[in-house]
């Protein structure tokens, strides 16, 4: 027997043994489980760092506002203030129930912040609300990831582990985006989602605001010779206001004399689309859980007023972070489109209602 023959037979034995191990035992799955779980463990450390970072930011912001015990305020907020969705197998009046729950929660949060930040201005309180919410969301994300990770380990569920590992890159990216977004809210810088309110800001010109609802204002102005009611959340604090109910109120006052309702909002882009692209269509462009959107649709339907939607496209991360130049350029394009709609589709003596939907942080 010469050397090469000996080699060949050893390899052959190893191959047969190897294929037996790979095909008839759990070893490959165990190895995958181990590989994925060590990857997830690393990402969980990253998520925990992000969570801690966000808590530090909130505490820093609150102590700057002379809150006595900022840690206690933060801990009292996280995990609390959840909202249980209304029953949906019996959909009668679900919108009213949902609106009631959303408002109750909003009031509770506002009261909580008011009690703990008695000396802060309205804008500071509104920004603190958002900071607390973001920190709370980051804690929740981390908890959910840990939950599935521990479930996977407990039951040796390597498919669950693999799914979690594959999703985690996106989850961490979103968490990072939320954490970065806190800087914008702390300093009061406009965010991508502010595209709608920014369009409204430019359209209103020098008109004076009229407060129609809590945190919601409207302006009466003239565009292309037509009377235009511009609705937006009241800035420059971080709030989205109640644009749906505001539209409902104004339409109920003006009735059939309104010829057009135009909603302007930021919209999630598809991966292949460019940030700042502007598109228009029909319907209410607003991404709330339901009550605000349906208020606009009902008001428009009641008087048969056509409903136009103009959207400025951006990614999820861009929507919650400092407004980028591309989004800003989108805002410019959207203004032209709104003006064109008013010029072409509203008669000279008609009235148009333009609604800038979104968070108005950093925009009056």
């Amino acid at each position: 027997m010469d050397g090469s023959n000996d080699w060949a037979s050893t390899i052959l034995v190893l191959l047969i043994l190897g294929s037996f191990l790979l095909n008839f035992t759990d070893i490959p799955q165990k190895m995958q489980l181990w590989r994925y779980s060590s990857y997830i463990r690393k990402k969980i450390i990253q998520l925990t760092e992000i969570e801690d970072e966000s808590k530090r930011k909130v505490i820093k912001y609150l102590s700057r506002l002379n809150v006595e015990n900022p840690r206690k305020v933060l801990e009292g907020f996280i995990d609390n203030f959840f909202m249980i969705s209304p029953v949906d197998i019996e959909p009668t009046d679900i919108i009213r129930r949902m609106r009631h729950l959303i408002r109750t929660r909003d009031d509770l949060i506002r009261k909580y912040v008011e009690e703990n930040l008695p000396n802060a201005t309205l804008v500071q309180r509104q920004n603190a609300e958002v900071l607390l919410e973001i920190s709370s969301v980051l804690t929740l994300i981390n908890k959910i990831v840990k939950h599935y990770f521990q479930l996977g380990l407990k039951y040796n569920n390597w498919i669950l582990m693999m799914q979690l590992a594959l999703e985690l890159q996106q989850i961490v990216k979103l968490a990072k985006a939320y954490d970065d977004a806190m800087d914008s809210f702390m300093k009061g810088i406009p965010i991508g989602d502010g595209a709608g309110p920014l369009v409204a800001h430019y359209l209103k010109g020098n008109a004076e605001p009229v407060e129609i609802l809590k945190e919601t204002v409207y302006y009466v102005t003239e565009i292309e010779g037509r009377k235009v009611y511009v609705i937006k959340a009241k800035g420059p604090g971080s709030t989205v206001g109640w644009p749906g109910e505001a539209v409902e109120k104004i339409i109920n006052d003006l009735g059939r004399s309104v010829s057009r309702i135009i909603t302007v909002d930021a919209a999630l882009k598809l991966e292949s689309e460019k940030t700042g692209e502007v598109a228009y269509g029909v319907g209410a462009a607003i991404g709330d859980p339901g009550p605000e959107k349906i208020a606009i649709e009902r008001a428009a339907t009641k008087y048969g007023i056509p409903l136009d939607a103009v959207v400025i496209k951006m990614s999820n991360e861009e929507a919650i972070n400092t407004m980028t130049k591309q989004v800003f350029e989108g805002v410019r394009k959207a203004i032209e489109i709104v003006k064109k709609i008013i010029k072409e589709k509203v008669p000279k003596d008609g009235i148009a209602v333009v609604v800038g939907i979104g968070n108005t942080v950093g925009i009056t």
């Binding site: 090469s4 590989r35 590992a165 594959l166 985006a177 300093k187 810088i189 420059p236 950093g362």
Partner: protein, 109 residues
């Protein structure tokens, strides 16, 4: 003399090592783009406008002083994130949140 089997095994080993190093390296390099938050100011009466770095307290619509040309109201016209190239006077600016930089999917676990 090396026999063919050793060469095959060595080749496979070399391939695995190269593959692992390449994926590890690819995950490390992230493009670094410098961006800065810009505040654009505009006069409400004439067409004067200027750009400067964002200062805390700025918001769109805020009155920040008088126009140097006609002493009308100088208002904040816009605030946005911009890449530094193109505005040399703002080049001193620092880097920005990481999430606004594109992240590569390395597909490595």
């Amino acid at each position: 003399m090396l026999d063919p089997m050793t060469i095959v095994i060595l080749a496979i080993l070399a391939f695995i090592i190269t593959y692992m190093t390449v994926t590890a390296m690819r995950s490390r390099q992230e493009p670094l783009k410098k961006k800065i938050i810009v505040t654009q100011l505009k006069c409400s009466s004439c067409d004067y406008s200027e750009k400067r770095e964002f200062k805390e307290g700025d918001y769109v619509g805020k009155e920040v002083g008088k126009c140097p040309k006609c002493s009308g109201k100088l208002l904040v016209e816009a605030i946005y994130l911009e890449e530094v190239e193109g505005i040399p006077e703002l080049r001193s600016a620092v880097s920005i949140p990481k999430s606004s930089q594109p992240q590569k999917n390395t597909g490595k676990y």
